[in-house]
Amino acid sequence: MKTRIALYGALREADPSGHVELDVPVGCDIAGLRRLLIQHLQQHTPSIGAGLVERSAFASAEEILHDARSVPEGVELAVLPPVSGG
């Protein structure tokens, strides 16, 4: 399935559109999604290191999704680099 991931903070530089779209196998968990995003960026935006994605969280509009969670179907997700508000 296609999963759309909105980009924030330093990860916005991965795509000027503000999001990427990944092909995600059914049943894939967030840890798998993280690996897919790292591969995608290695191909398309090698300037963004894997370390940044490893320190980033995935989230829906409601909550952070931890590594063991399944990627929800038909929901736009967001990838959140380390935060620095205030």
Partner: protein, 168 residues
């Protein structure tokens, strides 16, 4: 939660409003109002800053602010009114980036709620800061990971540093 106001304010539409925050947390029952304003300052880590762009994942930021309100109520008890607002967009030096205000019957609870809330906004809310420097360069600030596996390690390290700081 009654008595909780949370907001993300686009700088193109309005500035953060401390008077509105203080009004919101006022109550005839309350003797203490503690507040914090975070402003853009002109230096960071030795570089001259000309402005900061704040990026937020709004729906989750608002959810996080609400969760912070619940946590504050758990920690300091009732009654409590709490106001949390964060700016979004391109801010200049001196512009308020975040406002937290807490009203309670006595001052200790107000200070504790205010401090707890601003720490949580800084460490837990999906907000990113891009600093712009006088030489034209820009950089996204290093921050706190929201990824659970990373957080414990980073939090332990942060507390270690804070402890050293207090001992100096």
């Amino acid at each position: 939660m009654d008595g909780l106001h949370v907001a993300v304010v686009d700088i193109r539409e309005a500035k953060l409003d401390i008077a509105a925050a203080l009004d919101f947390v006022s109550d005839p029952r309350f003797g203490g109002i503690a507040s914090f304003i975070g402003r853009v300052r002109e230096h960071n880590l030795g570089r001259i800053v000309t402005g900061i762009t704040y990026d937020l994942f709004e729906p989750l930021a608002l959810n996080t602010f609400r969760a912070i309100g619940e946590k504050a109520r758990e920690k300091v008890g009732e009654p409590l009114k709490l106001y949390i607002a964060h700016a979004k967009g391109d801010l200049g030096i001196g512009d308020p980036a975040v406002i937290v205000a807490a009203g309670t019957p006595h001052r200790d609870e107000a200070f504790r709620a205010c401090r707890l809330a601003i720490e949580a906004v800084k460490h837990e809310a999906p907000i990113w800061k891009q600093e712009h420097y006088i030489d034209g360069d820009s950089a996204w600030s290093e921050g706190c990971s929201l990824c659970e596996e990373q957080r414990e390690a980073e939090r332990a390290q942060r507390h270690g540093e804070a402890d050293h700081g207090h001992v100096r």
